[in-house]
């Protein structure tokens, strides 16, 4: 059974474009090779429109609209590079970059920062990490003195052998919450706690992951755009300055466990699997995995000579602590 979608005519930056009804503005842009920056959008998740970096101007619309979720309408005139759009994207990127640590974010974020001339330093020096972010009560936000740029910096959470959470890098894109919830895993181990600048991703009552409903599928890591959620292996190798993405190979194969047939992308460095991801566009699970597929590969790893293979020392430690 197939339904032929009605074609809709719009213009993007003055160019006439024909797209299927039901498409988003982002899809329309991509169809003519004009990609828009996105942080909270992912093909395998429901759009939540929170990062606002994909906003575009629609003629006749009072506010800018998120291109990732706004559907096209016949005759719509879209501007992706107007003064308002450029200004808004610059501000969004500045606010994110001044308050969070984007050092492990997708390198394309730095390109956008350059492109939109974002200058996060103009908000002053970064405020130091705090140790009470997870206990801040809604409605009791403490306004800063304005001498430093407010940050979400706090110590990284390492409470299990499989992955870690560094919420200093969290831009609150909600992707992890969605992947843990109704978009993939239906586990609901995490949600957004707090309000305003104190909003943060949290387990129930900020319990350690090991006391939460978490089933360690790692689908939250799979969708995280900034490296706030990371494999222990990647985290420890980065800390030891042994993470060499340029030397890694990525090979797609099939999981060795159950009969679902999930596709695994094995990231291999020095003949060791250091990370497992899954292609978002594959029909079997749309990029999502379970604990066995994501982490259960150790049995094909052989620790080499620890004296000559430092990566092994780091991996062995990460796996046991």
């Amino acid at each position: 059974m197939s339904v032929t979608a009605t074609a809709i005519q719009i213009t993007i930056d003055g160019r006439p474009v024909e797209v299927a009804a039901g498409s988003t503005i982002l899809e329309a842009c991509r169809s003519i090779g004009e990609d828009q920056p996105t942080l909270c959008y992912l093909e395998n998740l429901t759009p939540v429109n929170v990062c606002r970096v994909c906003v575009v101007e629609v003629e006749g619309s009072r506010t800018l609209v998120p291109s990732c979720s706004r559907l096209v309408e016949d005759g719509m005139a879209v501007a992706t590079d107007s003064v308002r759009v450029r200004h808004s994207r610059k501000m969004v990127l500045e606010f994110l970059a001044s308050s969070t640590d984007l050092t492990t974010a997708d390198p394309v974020v730095a390109e956008w920062m350059d492109h939109y001339e974002a200058d996060p330093d103009r908000y002053g020096p970064a405020a130091p990490p705090s140790d009470d972010r997870d206990s801040r009560a809604t409605g009791h936000h403490h306004v800063s003195d304005g001498l430093a740029a407010e940050t979400v910096y706090q110590p990284a959470k390492i409470d299990n052998t499989l992955y870690m959470r560094d919420y200093s890098k969290c831009i609150l894109c909600y992707k992890c919450v969605e992947a843990c919830g109704a978009d993939a895993q239906n586990t609901f181990a995490i949600a957004i706690a707090g309000r305003g600048f104190d909003a943060r991703v949290s387990t129930e009552f900020d319990e350690p992951l090991t006391n939460s409903a978490c089933v360690y599928c790692g689908n939250c890591i799979g969708v995280c755009p900034t490296g706030a959620l990371m494999f222990r292996s990647e985290y420890e190798l980065r800390r030891a300055d042994l993470w060499h993405e340029e030397d890694q190979t990525v090979t797609t194969t099939i999981c060795s466990y159950c009969g679902v047939g999930c596709n695994l992308e094995l990231h291999v460095q020095d003949n060791r699997i250091v990370k497992v991801t899954s292609p978002l566009d594959h029909s079997v699970t749309d990029g999502h995995l379970c604990i066995k597929g994501r982490f259960g590969y150790e049995y094909v790893q052989e620790l080499g000579d620890l004296a000559t293979t430092p990566i092994d020392i780091v991996l062995a430690e990460a796996r046991t602590k």
Binding site: M1, N160, T161, L162, N186, L209, T210, C214, V215, Y216, T249, T251, T252, T253, I254, C255, S256, Y257, C258, G259, V260, G261, N263, L266, V268, N271, R272, I273, H282, S283, V284, C290, I291, K292, F295, G296, Y297, E298, Y299, V300, Q301, E302, R319, T320
Partner: protein, 490 residues
Amino acid sequence: MYTVDPRRTTSAAWADVWLGIDVGSDIALANTVGHEIIAAGLVNQDFIDHSTAHFEEYKEAVREWTLDRGEQVTGVPAEVIRQMAHDYATAETAQICWTLGITEHANATDNVLALINLSLLTGHVGRYGSGLVPIRGQNNVQGGGDMGALPNKLPGFQDVEDDEARGKFEALWGHPVPSEAGLHISLMLEAMGNKEITALYVIGENPAQSEADTAHTEALLDGLEFMVVQDIFLTRTAEMADVVLPAAAGWAESDGTSTSSERRVQRIRKALEPPGEAKDDIEIISLLAERMGRGWGIPTAEQAWDELRALSPMHAGMSYKRLEELGGIQWPCPDEDHPGTQFLHSWLWEDPMPREPAPFMPTVWVPPIDELSDEFPVRMTTGRRLDSYNTGVQSGGYHSPLRSGGIIEIAPEDGETLGLAEGDIVTVSSRRGAIDVPVYFHESLRPGLAFMAFHFPDEAAVNQLTIDAWDPKSGTAEFKATAVRIEKVA
């Protein structure tokens, strides 16, 4: 969504309704549902007339399975069975999904047939959104069957006793192929007992720990004159072998294909160099053939696959190139223009029918072989946990925060009755053996029901307790129903 399970599993918690069935009463439940669908006039008569045979026999066979009788045998309230029967029959589309809770019984095949009968009754098969879904527990168990790793089949499910099919293989291979069906694993074990089998070549299997009644299996393996084990691990079985051939891990250290539950053939690709002297399975087998004076070189995975495509019509259209482009293809795929087959039994809806109609297969309920008694009053069932896999040789390699270890779980009420505290060491005895394990309480279990995972044979050798009574048609042992006694270790 209805979940039928003796335990209130996570799936049961997600379901709209949970049917906490008594272990081993699956046929009783299915027959009761069938009876109710017929009694309430909810059968799909057009489908039955057009696509099936022997409906009257089925109707007669389930006549005795009134809701009351069903409740009596299954422990599920009659009203709940009625509701499920009506919802299933009247749904626009409905699927029955099952796994080892149905198939690890001494009447496994009948359990499956009882479910198939329901789909024939309602027409919930062979069309989009409806169907019968056996959920495979292993990544390539479907592929193993597809490739002829079955005692009576050549690749592509072609019968070894079919002269024409066998002839194709003989012509290509230039060698005769045995024309009689071989033995499945339960019969092989029997044959080892009778000394009809004296040598064994085990590839990627750990029967010393995975088969029911471990002590018996180990004695049989011990009695062999010669055993070769080809595996990526030095398993318990490998430790007993005369020769161990170290293999490369199929999914990460070699190229090839794997077939999932939904008959989707997908490419596996080599990402790692195998350790030490480990070799790809194709290479090992080719080198063995060479030693036996029948060298054919060492083909690549793709060459071996293309040979299969030439012999197995259902795989003929699946070139490596197409598997790559399409993200896998579901068989049958007879030629390179064929997109693959999303659902298998759409032929049931064709007019005229291209094959004989699908027969109803009446089934008779029998209770589990290992009966409960005063001496062994608790029903123990075995199963899996999310983070672990089979006998643990693979999943034991990573540190999971969820890992339970080898324990027995019982109902909190039973814990109280037996005067146990969580973590106490108990002796669990069956008619075949006894093991000591820590006991924990779990609210998913009802009084009289105990659960053990079989992932930790070194800590909790659960298969020392299970019975090796097996289904004569599938050869699968009754892992799911063991009668046990639980006592605190003084």
